[in-house]
């Protein structure tokens, strides 16, 4: 369905966007028409009539959020999520663009699959679904994909996410080849031989619980390797879901050296620790695993000083029956799209680690640039700009309940957590896709 964009008036909000210099924001009423912002006026000023009037009293309006890292499971695992259900969860979470990871069945290593994923996203019409591409065919780590061919159908971010590219020679060649193609390679950093059978972070907690450990060094070795390969080849690189203090240090030093590296962190890695596995509930199994309070502090510091560019959810739905298996068989991953904003406001802004606009930057305009979507996503809220917007009620507190998610799966690790800040309305390509917290399609 691609109904015509309607006209929308949003009254009562304050604008906080990429041009803001404080968190107070600029009070303004907005009008949206034909997919763009047509008016931005003093509050209460007259505006032409609109099909939809959205109340935003006490709210913030900002550019729609951009998630660099979601698993939508379609094609192949529609039991756990579809592009439509995942898009709905994204829209409810305030996202107007999501980058779909390539580990579907079949994976994103051919034109036909990436075009299918993009088209399913268009049909759902709830947010922009941006397919990533694999780095290697079948994500098998042996042969490079046809980067230029996939770039020509719009793929800008390539990754074998779910696993890292193990072979250093292959990774070097990928970086060299990709360098002049105006694409970004992104790495899931995990040296596989160090994590065979691993279920959780290797440390005191796994020693007590008798579960096979995933050592921090398995991530850090690959971060370090790839930083050196970037130095060698002059290419850039994006690091997915960094989880350890040492990884943050390595990226900070690489940026200080002028290397073109960027990084993301997932909300669960800066809010939960390995102690969460104490009750043996596989909902807390995730890859890379939940780590220690010291890692959480380092990730928050990395987000605050900009070493980590983006908050990305690694939204990873799994049907209940899959998460009811023994811990070694249960697949890793947790839901993230609908809780990311609330977690960031509660755990980063309310704790004083970051300003509101810095958090919104990490959720919107900075990832938009990494994914090369910044011609239409993460734009300033101003007349003439594409109408990809989110209206957030920063004062609303809410309790996470798994049966209220729009996802097909229920594997949120935050059941019963109370969060501050909730998405009220989401406007995607000039259409109100979420109104008062409810998806309109």
């Amino acid at each position: 369905m691609t109904d015509r964009p309607s006209s929308i008036v949003v009254r009562g909000a304050r604008i906080v966007d990429s041009t803001s210099t404080d968190d107070a924001g600029r009070p303004a009423d907005l009008r949206v028409e034909d997919g763009r912002i047509s008016h931005c006026v003093e509050p209460g000023s007259p505006l032409p009539e609109a099909d939809t009037n959205l109340d935003a009293a006490g709210c913030i309006v900002t550019s729609g959020l951009v998630d660099l890292h979601v698993h939508l499971r379609e094609p192949g695992r529609e039991e756990s999520e579809t592009i439509e259900s995942g898009s709905r969860a994204a829209a409810r979470g305030g996202f107007t663009a999501v980058v779909a990871m390539p580990n579907t069945e079949p994976p994103h290593d051919s034109r036909v699959v990436v075009e299918f994923v993009r088209e399913q996203g268009r049909r759902a019409g709830l947010c922009e679904v941006v397919p990533s591409g694999c780095i290697t065919i079948g994500r098998a780590g042996e042969h490079l994909v046809t980067f230029a061919e996939l770039r020509d159908v719009g793929v800008r971010l390539f990754t074998d996410d779910g696993s890292g590219v193990q072979d250093p020679q292959l990774m070097r060649r990928a970086l060299e080849y990709a360098r002049d193609l105006d694409i970004t390679l992104a790495q899931h950093c995990e040296v596989a031989s160090l994590t065979r059978g691993a279920v959780m972070h290797e440390g005191a907690c796994c020693s007590r619980l008798g579960l096979p450990g995933w050592p921090a060094v398995a991530e850090e070795l690959m971060v370090h390797r790839d930083i050196e390969l970037c130095r060698l080849t002059g290419a850039g690189m994006h690091f997915l879901h960094l989880s350890t203090a040492r990884s943050v240090e390595l990226v900070r030093a690489a940026k200080a050296d002028g290397l073109k590296v960027t990084a993301e962190a997932a909300p669960h890695h800066f809010t939960l620790t390995d102690e969460a596995l104490g009750g043996f509930d596989p909902v807390f199994k995730v890859n890379p695993p939940l780590r220690t309070p010291a890692d959480i502090a380092a990730l928050r510091a990395g987000l605050a000083d900009g070493t980590i560019d983006a908050i990305a959810t690694d939204h990873a739905p799994h049907a209940p029956r899959l998460k009811e298996q023994p811990l070694d068989e249960a697949p890793p991953g947790m839901l993230g799209l609908e809780t990311a904003l609330g977690l960031a406001l509660t755990h980063l802004v309310d704790t004083g680690s970051m300003s509101l606009r810095a958090v919104l930057g990490a959720l919107s305009w900075r990832p938009a640039r990494i994914a090369r979507l910044d011609d239409r996503q993460g734009r300033p809220v101003a007349v003439g700009e594409p109408a990809n917007l989110v209206v957030v009620d920063p004062a609303a507190t809410w309790t996470v309940r798994p049966d209220e998610t729009a996802s097909r799966s229920r594997n949120t690790p935050y059941v019963g957590h109370t969060l501050r800040g909730r998405v009220r309305h989401t406007i995607f390509e000039g259409r109100a896709v979420v109104v008062d917290g409810t998806a309109t399609r």
Binding site: E202, F280, P282, P326, L327, E329
Partner: protein
């Protein structure tokens, strides 16, 4: 107490309570007809996802001596091989009216997952590398018995116990270290760094890489079974080297104190960790461990399933 899943959940007072009931069960087992009607009408199902004939038989014998109905759910011939989930299995068998499941699984944590899906009691008979609480209880009981001590919250105070071998992958070591230290003993894990837990500080124990240094200083030498597969994972370079550093032979045994006890949870790997014949020393407690296992498991089942306020049989 609803379940027995770990020593930590049982707590020190719980350990002492079970050990005291086990003393009474010992007197039941000493009778010409070692059987009492305490659990008539209760059904105890052994649910062993991983084979362990000796542990299963020990539990089933304990259940029968208390007059419970002991049923074996044989996983190898069951629907689990046809893709039935853990949850469907436990819900289906529970619907037949089960008082307790005795569970063994290769993965840590399964008893906790199962207890979400059944009203029956769960007795952990070994989960992954994590816990095997009745083994630890019968080992505490055996040490008290051999030493002539009475159960109390500090009954092992002053004793030093060496746990020798692959503690990293051992549910026995995890449970025993917790129970022994809980009752006041000092525990030292002996083995190469590759076979110790990644962070031993989580265990409140000492560690040593020298069996020879430790042997003359301990009251109990607790040998763990060394699995041959460990060599394939590069955890030890060679089994022969392991034996020469951490195997117990006559020469090493001769360097222990005159009252030091020798223990092993079985099955022994002769020629690997056990290089002597334990039957040649009067200080071997190994067969007492097996014998006491019945009394301790009777105590656990009685405590979980006995009618409230019912007198302990003796």
């Amino acid at each position: 107490m609803k379940h027995l899943r770990s020593i930590g959940e049982l707590g020190v007072d719980g350990i002492v309570h079970v050990l005291r009931i086990a003393r009474h069960m010992d007197s039941v087992n000493a009778r010409p007809v070692p059987k009492v009607p305490a659990l008539v009408g209760r059904t105890v199902v052994s649910l062993f996802f991983e084979d362990s004939t000796r542990t299963r038989i020990s539990f089933e014998t304990a259940a029968r001596r208390l007059s419970a109905d002991a049923v074996n759910f044989s996983v190898s011939t069951s629907s689990l091989n046809k893709g039935e989930s853990l949850r469907d299995t436990i819900e289906t068998v529970s619907a037949m009216g089960v008082s307790a499941f005795v569970v063994r699984h290769r993965t840590s944590g399964v008893p906790w997952q199962l207890s979400e899906w059944t009203d029956a009691s769960i007795v952990n008979a070994g989960d992954g590398w994590h816990q095997h609480p009745t083994q630890a209880l019968l080992d505490c009981y055996t040490i008290l018995d051999r030493r002539g001590l009475e159960a109390s919250p500090t009954c092992l105070a002053g004793l030093r116990i060496a746990i020798v071998g692959d503690s990293r992958h051992s549910r026995v070591a995890r449970s025993c270290a917790e129970a022994f230290t809980g009752l006041g003993a000092e525990v030292v894990l002996v083995g190469p760094r590759t076979l110790l837990p990644p962070d031993a500080s989580a265990w409140s124990v000492g560690v040593s890489e020298s069996l020879d240094d430790v042997l003359p200083e301990v009251d109990v030498v607790y040998m763990l079974r060394m699995q041959r597969e460990r060599m394939n994972e590069a955890l030890v370079p060679h089994l022969g080297e392991y034996s020469s550093r951490f195997g117990l032979d006559e020469r090493r045994w001769a360097r222990t104190r005159p009252d030091t006890l020798l223990m092993h949870p079985g099955p022994m790997n002769r020629g690997v960790e056990m290089l002597m014949d334990p039957s040649t020393t009067s200080r071997s407690a190994i067969l007492y461990q097996v014998r006491n296992g019945i009394s301790v498991r009777m105590a656990v089942l009685f405590d979980l399933l006995g009618a409230p306020g019912e007198a302990v049989p003796s």
